[in-house]
Amino acid sequence: MRGRLRGLAVVVEDVEEARRLYKSGFYGKFLLKDKVKLEEVDKIESPLVLSLYEALYLAERGLLEIYDDERRIDIDELRKIGEINLKNFNEIYLIYKYFRDLGYIVKSGLKFGALFSVYEKGPGIDHAPMVVVFLEPDRGISATDIARGGRLSHSVKKTFTLATVLKPSNEVALIGFRWAKL
């Protein structure tokens, strides 16, 4: 499969390949189409836009080749582009990979004011995503961080997950928080 690097995202222009990627774990987002259900995919004619995290993950797994015009971009170069342009790229990628390797679907958390929204079945299918908030490595945690995280979750259960990368082991650490009615 081929993707074209255009700025800080990778576009899969071949419609068949785009559909296949989306169906194989909700990778990417169809241009100008949001929340596409699996049964609607075969009607979509739009290219698929992959984030750098998604593109790197797929490239590392040998599922995607990335080009810049005609030149092949290798994995190290793609990683470098992420590191230069996106804050905490390597740590955030480790968190992305952690969830994906366990079979979860990871999408941007921007609309929730968080890092990622994580799904078991997929966006538009799961009742509520797991809202994942990033904590920079070696940073402390405050009461406001926790209360703010609680405000991000859609559900009345107010559950959210804080993710960080422990140094120097690079181990991904998750803490779950839930508003407690005592």
């Binding site: 774990g25 078991e120 402390g140 945690i141 405050s142 009461a143 926790i146 960080t164 839930r178 005592l182």
Partner: protein, 96 residues
């Protein structure tokens, strides 16, 4: 004693909790039916993550749920339960 921590203890007593044991400043066990390990976090005071981890580990060791008592600068208390998350493999994952 710290007046903000005192506020937390008062709030818990008003909710019918009994304070069982003070472990250290800002860390105590209280009981209402079940026992909980409470950790006080004051607005504006940043805690190293490893300190929170130590509390979560203590909760696991004591088999006691950990509750963070977030207390505002003027003593208003909000509670959040916290636990280390170990995710299973997603059973709904499609075969690649």
């Amino acid at each position: 004693m710290n007046v903000l921590e005192e506020q937390v203890l008062n709030d818990l007593r008003s909710r019918g909790f009994k304070i069982v044991e003070r472990i250290e400043d800002g860390l105590f066990v209280a009981e209402k039916g079940e026992r909980y390990l409470f950790y006080v976090m004051v607005e504006g005071v940043e805690r190293p993550l490893r300190q929170l981890y130590r509390v979560l580990n203590m909760g696991e060791t004591l088999s006691t749920p950990v509750v963070l008592a977030l207390v505002s600068n003027d003593g208003v208390v909000t509670y959040y339960s916290a636990h280390k998350l170990r995710l299973p493999r997603n059973v709904h994952a499609q075969a690649p």
